[in-house]
Assembly symmetry: C2
Homo-oligomer: 144 residues x 2
DNA sequence: CAGGATCCTAAACGATACTG
DNA sequence: CAGTATCGTTTAGGATCCTG
């Protein structure tokens, strides 16, 4: 045992090497890679849907809330803050009362959202196919 | 108020219309659409990484566990069961002792995994750019 | 209107022990 | 080896109330 409690090999992205020289291949499978965090934010339950909603057009808070079915105020605020902190979303608060806040995608946010949207499109197109190809559950499983 | 406690408009995919005539556009934003469930499975924390691991080659349980850094036995088993139930993954248990179980992608699982891999690749290529473009946290936030 | 603060429940997760 | 069962912890998530 060493002095540090490493849980696996270090990721190249935090190995101390100069960033400009790094090449990443399959680093997501590495537990310690910061790309894991990005992945989790972008694939989070509400993050995916918010990105899609904002890809269509800029929206204000309550509009996103209405667009993304089922999201609570709290989770929407939290999701938007995370996406903003990652630099995927711009937040512009108009200096008026009552408050008016507009959300939009940053350039890199738009890139990410486009990728997410591609994947979402695939799911929407294939959902029926997936549901019908699904192995049937047994009675026991269905009751569960 | 009606007799049913609907939380939003029905999704076309469970509206009772014949499946073959349905067209889906933006149905993921609808709370009641079954595609939401597929999305959650495919974008789940470990689901993404398992699909990527299996896209490279077929693997047995312990091999996936070693490949996907940080996944626990329990979560891997659970994730594989979900992906199998959705029809994305094949499970073949060799009739030997000690047990030997091979996992592989189904055709539709391979399609899905390819899409996931595309997105993952984008993240890996852009992680550095994302991290450096991130708005800096304040001292207060950093301590938090 | 856009949230922040609070409280609470449910689900996800991980570690460990056990079994065919 | 490939799980299952159990337990305890952590996080996600929702509901409600409150404020500039």
């Amino acid at each position: 045992m060493t002095d540090t409690a490493e849980t696996g090999p270090r990721c190249m992205l935090n190995s101390g090497a100069p960033l400009s020289e790094l090449i990443q291949t399959g680093e997501l499978l590495n537990q310690n890679c910061p790309s894991r965090e990005i992945l989790r934010h972008l694939t989070s339950r509400w993050g995916v849907l918010v990105l899609i909603a904002l890809l269509e057009k800029d929206r204000r808070f309550s509009e996103i809330r209405r667009t993304v079915g089922g999201v609570s105020e709290k989770m929407l605020a939290q999701t938007l803050q995370t996406l903003e902190a990652d630099g995927f979303v711009n937040r512009y608060s108009h200096p008026v009362v009552p408050p008016h806040v507009d959300y939009s995608l940053t350039p890199i946010g738009r890139e990410a959202a486009t990728k997410v949207r591609d994947f979402a499109d695939w799911i929407e197109v294939n959902t029926i196919r997936i549901l019908s190809a699904r192995p049937h559950q047994s009675q026991a499983e269905a009751v569960e």
